[in-house]
């Protein structure tokens, strides 16, 4: 893979990022001439409060001036202060990012791995009970709102059976450290991670199944069998690597979904990450926080797209060597 290819992709990602940053500006100012009035509808605001808020939002001065000022601040990761905590938005985000990265990371990896394996199993046993069962299961999981699944799991396994804590990331009464603390956190993470994994593996299964079915018609598999390879090896060495390519392309999109899904799921399990922060910022509404979160979510999806693009090119020699 050439350096030219990578720099082209990185440049593309940067342009997209700049677009999102600009879009964010217009979202809050052009779509709605007076976000202050709208966000605080129903609340009495004095003239001076209003002026103060307008200043805070950078709504004074001409649009051009506002835009330049906004760009400068964004470049310095200055997204203003959160209303609810009065801390800089960026500090709040940094503080909460870890919990979300852990949850979303684990769920994204698990849903991909399990989803792909189910897809392989279904395609390989096409038109058998296993195939129908897997397809029905994934269709069902795909059709549920993820937070509803979270509510069901929470009610049953945490409230009714008491196997898992009902929320949070650690037991507030516990003073455990080291491994014990990690185990406690894993215990807390189990249900939210399970919810996200189940909710998002369906896409992988469906795509992997259909991709593998396509691949299984390929002539090079007949050659592999003719060479004397066992069926399992024909599948693992020849069919799966080819069938995986379209799935890699899906990964970035799906990552965006898992990240979005984390908003409601973190709210349900009071998982103290960016999703819960979004949920709380919405109830405020805490506009600077929402803006900052929007940018962070978008930037991470863009980053993931970039990674997926490069991974795809690296996996497919036809792209890599051209």
């Amino acid at each position: 893979m050439t350096a030219g290819f990578i720099s082209k992709k990185v440049l593309g990602a940067l342009v997209t990022l700049i677009f999102v940053v600009c879009f964010n500006f217009f979202l809050f100012r052009v779509v709605d001439a007076d976000p202050v009035a709208n966000l605080f509808r129903g609340k009495e605001l004095s003239q001076s409060q209003r002026a103060e808020l307008r200043e805070e939002f950078g709504l004074n001065g001409s649009q051009g001036e506002q835009f330049v000022k906004y760009l400068g601040q964004t470049a310095q990761l200055n997204f203003g202060r959160s209303y609810s905590t009065n801390q800089p938005v960026w500090d709040e985000i940094k503080k909460k990012a870890g919990a979300t990265i852990a949850l979303v990371g684990i769920a994204a990896v698990l849903s991909a791995v399990i989803g792909i394996m189910l897809g392989i199993a279904a395609a390989w046993r096409r038109r058998t009970k296993a195939d129908y069962g897997i397809t029905a299961f994934t269709m069902g999981a795909y059709s549920m709102p993820e937070f509803w699944l979270g509510m069901l799991l929470l009610t049953f396994f945490a409230v009714k059976l008491g196997w898992f804590p009902v929320g949070g990331i650690t037991d507030p009464d516990s003073s455990a450290t080291g491994l014990a603390k990690l185990a406690d956190q894993a215990h807390h993470m189990f249900l939210p991670a399970l919810t996200l994994t189940l909710a998002y593996l369906g896409e992988y299964t469906i795509i992997m199944r259909s991709s593998l079915l396509d691949t299984m018609r390929e002539d090079y598999l007949v050659l592999a069998r003719a060479k004397g390879l066992r069926d399992v090896l024909v599948r693992n060495r020849h069919a799966v690597p080819n069938a995986l390519l379209p799935v890699v392309a899906l990964m970035a999109i799906n990552f965006g979904f898992v990240l979005s899904g984390a908003i409601a799921v973190e709210a349900i399990f009071s998982w103290p990450g960016l999703g819960l922060a979004t949920y709380e910022a919405l109830k405020g509404p805490d506009l600077p926080m929402l803006q900052g979160l929007f940018l962070v979510f978008s930037a991470s999806v863009i980053l993931f797209n970039l990674i997926a693009d490069i991974l795809y090119a690296w996996l497919d020699p036809r792209v890599r060597t051209s």
Binding site: D219, A226, N242, D316, R318, T321
Partner: protein, 329 residues
């Protein structure tokens, strides 16, 4: 013929594909006998069942396909072999150069690895370096520099890929090679090169070969014996020069009479001078399946079934005009 068991002996082979509406009988009773080192040419129009026959010999046809009869390799029936034995026989006794070089190589694996995989599979424990060396030798054997082993299929031209496939087929030193239209997708110059290469290899290694094409003139120059297929059956066979120079079956005559430009796709579909289309295997005409297109057809052809009747020394033809035909024409 010597008293030994022949290398390959196919008896009454039938291949029937499972299809949505009705099954497709692609091969309908074929007998083939092949001695060690012998070459047989198999000709026929597109869709007459040549590839189906080749696939059946190693049980490579899609699941649900019904294959009956006997395929005896050294007297052992491939069709009833246990899976483990079958895998061992594949590529070491019988290897195939598949039709369509463009799609038969795995696009995400280096060609050297694809050749090496076969070597490693059949001689377990071969060292890495040994495998690499052998892959290099094979590539050079087919006229490619050894460093091409590191290339991916898309980095090779059509002719080079075909060479890789031939090298791959020779990887485990099989005793029988089936070359299924090894030159169809190639341009004229490259076709001639590949053919010469195959001829050369066959002589050097004493390889028995079944050579499949639609082009009778090529076969006549490369193979000692010829078999012509029509609608899933062999309709004429014999020593290739005799068959080519004086065909008995009107279908062979049509194939031989037309001197095609090599690689001419139009000819591939419909031999010159032959009206109509090749028959749909699901709806074969009564009597001789060739009679609707046959210039020499008589009334009985549409009702009397034909089979291979003697037609001169070492020859047979499935036509009521054949000298040995019991049916009065």
């Amino acid at each position: 013929m010597s008293g030994q068991v022949p290398l390959l002996s196919v008896r009454d082979l039938h291949v029937t594909y499972a299809a949505a509406e009705r099954p497709v009988p692609a091969v309908r009773g074929v007998d083939i006998e092949l001695e060690v080192g012998e070459t047989l040419g198999l000709a026929g129009e597109s869709g007459c069942g040549k590839s189906s026959l080749a696939g059946a010999l190693l049980r490579l046809l899609p699941g649900g396909t019904e294959v009956t009869g006997e395929v005896l390799l050294d007297g052992e029936d491939v069709l009833t072999m246990k899976p483990g034995r079958l895998r061992a026989v594949r590529w070491t006794d019988l290897a195939i150069v598949f039709q369509g070089a463009l799609h038969t190589l795995n696009p995400v694996q280096r060609v050297g690895d694809q050749i090496g995989e076969a070597i490693r599979l059949h001689s377990k424990g071969t060292s890495h370096a040994k495998v690499r060396e052998r892959v290099g030798e094979l590539l050079e054997l087919v006229g490619l520099p050894a460093r091409r082993a590191r290339d991916y299929p898309h980095q090779l031209s059509g002719g080079q890929r075909q060479r890789v496939l031939i090298g791959l087929a020779l990887a485990c030193e099989p005793r029988l090679l089936i070359a299924d239209e090894p030159t169809t997708a190639l341009d004229v110059m490259v076709q001639a090169q590949v053919l010469r290469l195959l001829e050369d290899l066959q002589e050097r290694f004493g390889l028995a070969t079944i050579f499949i094409t639609h082009d009778l003139s090529t076969l006549a120059s490369v193979c000692r014996r010829l078999a012509v297929m029509y609608a899933g059956r062999i309709v004429e066979q014999g020593p290739s020069h005799d068959v080519f120079a004086a065909p008995t079956h009107p279908y062979t005559r049509a194939l031989a009479g037309a001197f095609p430009v090599i690689g001419d796709q139009a000819f591939r579909m419909a031999p010159a001078g032959l009206p109509g289309d090749p028959p749909d295997p699901r709806h074969l005409p009564e009597g001789c399946p060739f009679h609707p297109r046959c210039p020499a057809a008589v009334e009985t052809c549409s009702s009397v079934p034909v089979e291979l009747w003697p037609a001169g020394p070492g020859r047979a033809a499935a036509c009521i005009h054949a000298p040995g035909s019991p049916v009065p024409a």
